[in-house]
């Protein structure tokens, strides 16, 4: 049995037929071939699969694609506008917040969700917002600085 869902991903509207047990992660990676979203455990523990659903960070390995019916989803591929990096992406590059990079998409998106609702977070709020994503390379301090610098950059440009 398959079901049909309507889902907006990175601004594009899709109608997808899928098995009811398909996760959002499987839909993104296997059907839409958006492989920037990673998987590190499949159990909602490492956060590598974080995407934004209605602007909120979600472990896409734990969410059924069917539950995202009618939702607006943003993945890392949706952050670049007309070839230009999002200020967060630029800050991650400039501040050296990237090592192996496997957690980078999830970190960037978790930070985006934070800055969208709280443009001037204090350090503790940034740590809290990023604490669902594991970085084994241990780039945390540089990632925190990158988020601070993106917030700063966005404030100045407003």
């Amino acid at each position: 049995m398959t079901i049909a869902i309507d889902i907006k991903v990175n601004g594009e509207q899709y109608r997808v037929e899928l098995e009811p047990q398909t996760t959002l992660l499987e839909l993104l990676r296997d059907s839409l071939r958006l492989t920037g979203t990673k998987e590190g455990c499949g159990l909602g523990e490492c956060g590598a699969c974080v995407v934004l659903v209605q602007g909120r960070p979600v472990n896409s390995c734990l969410m059924l694609a069917a539950d995202a019916n009618g939702c607006d989803v943003v993945t890392i591929e949706g952050l670049t506008m007309n070839g230009a990096l999002h200020p967060l992406q630029q800050s991650f590059v400039d501040e050296g917040a990237i090592q192996c990079g496997f957690c980078t998409p999830a970190m960037v998106l978790s930070a985006k969700a934070l800055l969208d609702r709280n443009p001037e977070p204090v350090e503790e709020e940034i740590k809290e917002a990023l604490s669902g994503v594991l970085c084994r390379c241990g780039s945390y301090n540089k990632i925190i600085r990158a988020v601070q610098s993106a917030a700063e950059r966005t404030r100045q440009s407003v």
Binding site: G40, F92, V93, G96, C103, I126, G138
Partner: protein, 767 residues
């Protein structure tokens, strides 16, 4: 020569791919017609395989192949050829692969695995290396003496001792009698997981006609991995192509055939269709590899004024069921137990012992983290007992320029003292214990470390100047996260005299990119950096010769900078792209240069006769100073700050150096305070990241990376290495700070609240 890129924090070449999600990792590989692999793993620690019934599995939907060790009856190993691809006749740890399935989907493969029935006959098992070393212990490898060995590993046939290393210098008994005090302590450093966020994964294709294998995998040493495979199955190296996409972290964990072994064995039976094996997090935590756990007895003699007179050390290393790269840990890692100190009389007995547990192998630091834990904890205990300042005690005994290493190698470019001084200054050394509240106390601690690099080893590279003046660097140092591509491009750009933007650094492909030993042992910047430097110098000379011919000038009057040829006294004469089109006309062509570096034969390796093998082409020194806050009611340790000073020779890219230092501090802190396998016999009970806790953004202290540059005489632009030593000093620095804060000494890692509370209670009772 203008050096525009070296020494600058050039943004990483891989950053754009990674921040946009377009970077392809081993995990992302999808191939046409690909099957998915799944593995049936042993539920027994040690057992004979009596019968494997695959009849139900082979009939299951979507299944193409079901195989056991009998179908692919080969063994492999990076150090000792002791490990089957799939268990043959016997299993030696819980989690060992017994059978594997290739099916159309991952779910179908998993479903078929559950239909395989195996009958085992249990054998007695042994889990503690100290017991396993005994004569009556159950034997894991009765044929140990007959296995092929790929290094000077002294096995003891008829026992579980996989490697034994003894080293003596001077006379320890005399040294102890010269001492005013002799300290004898036991320490242990536990097994920890690499826990890369990208789990092990590999895709393999076997071409039935030519007999060639193509493998796509996240692996940090592709050329040695294919040699392992070639040695195992008896085919030439040019029949094995290993392609390494981006690697989602390694830390030593992706150094041998892990997921590769399953994918390769299955691919042999799928008639040319590729098979991909992706490990689950549970497999990652229970059935890959771990750090080699160590039990260390250290006896150290010292005079009242704080001069070390002798040290005797006995180390037992837990190998797990197969050797992997642990024999090197026991060999080279064991020697680091003497620390960066002048000790005239030494004795080491280091034994690596097989046990019925998950395989232990290479892990960031390669043995150094374990022995540094023991050495630096005891150094602190000695200083406190003798009433010496732990910093002064270390400075007084620590290596300085032209001291001799324990094998007689003369040490040059020794930045140890500077790391001690800078790290301690940054932490505010000497301000002592502070009481913050009724239950919270603060203290500071330092620990220092020395680490060499595997010597001698080789690196090769090829640089292509393409027809349009763009440059392609071909080499096999995988980008595992350390910034390898960027640092090597910086070295090439400055040596050739071109902008870094013109250089593309390719990912490894063993059919195309030449041999490199490994991205391991903190060796890449130095070794591959030297190979790249050599190729770049050749390319520069070739370019200038072409320019001289085209311009009708003497080559000596010409120079190359930022991609342009300059004539002495005249200025700019020609762009590189113009040079290439003039040289080759409209038809196209390229200029090639090859680079090679080996540390073999360097005069720097000279040592006492017969002991040159213990020399290292460079030595790295590092000191970590930590400030912690301990709550004596909860036993919880909060690390407030770590200042980490590292002598890395020269920072080619200060930003990537900071990344290595900060990252290793976080890993060290996580290993020390949070991570521990909970074992029931040989079974790992905590097989999820909820139960095996890694440090998060909320656990990270203020980290101050401090770069010390001593400029190595043979290193590229003076560089040595970095990635591993920064992992070693964190644990003892934290333990030493805890001691200052609350006066208790934890000798067995990890440092948990339970252990601290128990120690505090014992101290209270004793008082």
């Amino acid at each position: 020569m203008k050096t525009g890129h070296v020494g600058r924090s050039v943004p990483r070449l891989d950053a754009l791919d990674k921040v946009t999600g377009s970077a392809l990792y081993g995990f992302d590989i999808e191939l046409p017609g690909m099957f998915y692999g799944a593995t049936l793993r042993s539920p027994c620690s040690h057992a004979k395989i009596i019968h494997v019934d695959i009849s139900e599995a082979i009939k299951a939907p979507g299944v193409r192949a079901v195989i056991t060790g009998k179908d692919f009856p080969f063994t492999f190993g990076g150090s000792i050829k002791d490990q089957p691809f799939l268990a043959i006749d016997k299993v030696r740890y819980i989690g060992e692969p017994v059978a594997a399935v290739a099916a159309e989907t991952e779910a179908e493969a998993q479903d078929a695995v559950e239909r395989i029935r195996v009958t085992y006959e249990d054998l007695p098992a042994v889990f503690d290396p100290r017991e396993a070393a005994g004569e009556d212990a159950p034997l894991l490898h009765p044929d140990l003496g007959e296995y092929t060995r790929f290094g000077p590993y002294d096995v003891v046939p008829g026992t579980n001792i996989c490697t034994i290393r003894r080293y003596k210098h001077g006379n320890v008994e005399k040294g102890f009698s010269d001492a005013d005090e002799v300290f004898e302590d036991e320490f242990s450093a536990h097994s920890v997981s690499h826990s890369t966020i990208e789990t092990h994964c590999a895709a393999a294709r076997y071409e039935p006609v030519s007999g060639e294998f193509t493998i796509w995998s996240s692996n940090d040493r592709p050329h040695r991995a294919i040699r392992e495979l070639a040695n195992a199955v008896g085919i030439p190296i040019n029949h094995i192509r290993l392609i390494v996409p981006y690697v989602g972290g390694s830390f030593g964990g992706k150094s041998t055939l892990v997921a590769e072994a399953i994918a390769i064995a299955l691919a042999r039976f799928t008639k040319g269709r590729p098979v991909k094996a992706t490990f689950s997090r549970e497999e990652e935590l229970t059935a890959t590899q771990s750090r080699v756990a160590a039990w260390m007895k250290i006896k150290t003699g010292v005079t009242k004024s704080g001069v070390l007179t002798a040290r005797k050390a006995e180390v037992f290393w837990d190998n797990g069921a197969y050797a992997s790269y642990a024999p090197g840990v026991a060999l080279r890692g064991g020697l680091t137990v003497f620390g960066p100190y002048r000790i005239p009389n030494l004795e080491l007995d280091s034994r690596l012992v097989y046990t019925n547990k998950m395989i232990a192998g290479a892990y960031r630091g390669y043995g150094t983290t374990q022995v540094t834990w023991a050495c630096e904890s005891q150094m602190d205990m000695i200083a406190h007992k003798l009433g010496l300042d732990p910093l002064e005690f270390r400075l007084g005994n620590g290596y300085v320029e032209n001291d001799r290493y324990i094998n007689g190698q003369v040490l040059r470019d020794v930045g140890l003292k500077e790391t001690l001084e800078k790290a301690s200054r940054e932490i505010g050394w000497g301000s002592g214990r502070k009481r913050i509240s009724a239950s919270r106390f603060r203290g500071k601690g330092i620990a220092t470390t020395i680490k060499g690099t595997v010597t001698p080893t080789e690196s090769f590279c090829i640089i292509r100047l393409n027809n349009d003046a763009s440059i392609t660097l071909l080499m096999s140092s995988a980008e595992i996260g350390g910034g390898q591509k960027t640092v090597l491009a910086q070295i090439a750009a400055d040596t050739i005299g071109v902008p870094i933007e013109s250089i593309s650094v390719q990912n490894p492909d063993t059919f195309v990119t030449p041999y490199d030993h490994a991205v391991a042992s903190s060796r890449t910047t130095y070794h591959m950096g030297n190979a790249v430097r050599s190729a770049s110098q050749q390319l520069r000379e070739k370019i200038l010769q072409v320019a001289a011919t085209l311009l009708g000038l003497d080559c000596n009057r010409l120079s190359l900078a930022e991609g342009k040829v300059f004539e002495e006294g005249k200025g700019e004469r020609m762009h590189l792209d113009a040079l290439m089109s003039k040289r080759f006309g409209g038809k196209g062509g390229e200029i090639l240069a090859e680079g090679y570096y080996t540390s073999a034969g360097s005069p720097l390796l000279a040592a006492y006769s017969g002991l040159e093998g213990m020399s290292s082409i460079f030595w790295m020194y590092g000191t970590h100073a930590a400030e912690v806050e301990v709550d004596v009611e909860t036993g919880i340790v909060k690390v407030l700050k770590i200042a980490a000073a590292h002598d890395l020779g020269r920072a080619i890219n200060p930003m990537t150096c900071e990344q290595q230092i900060e990252g290793a501090v976080v890993m060290g802190l996580s290993n020390t305070l949070f991570e521990e396998f909970i074992l029931a016999g040989g079974r790992v009970l905590n097989d999820t990241l909820s139960d095996y806790k890694l440090a998060t953004a909320r656990d990270v202290p203020d980290i101050v990376p401090i770069i010390v540059e001593t400029r190595h005489t043979e290193g590229p632009f003076g560089a040595k290495g970095l990635g591993e030593p920064a992992a070693a000093a964190t644990a003892p620095a934290i333990a030493n700070a805890i001691y200052e804060a609350v006066g208790v000494r934890i000798k067995d890692l990890p440092i948990t609240p339970e252990k601290l509370l128990a120690a505090l209670k014992r101290k209270k009772v004793a008082n």
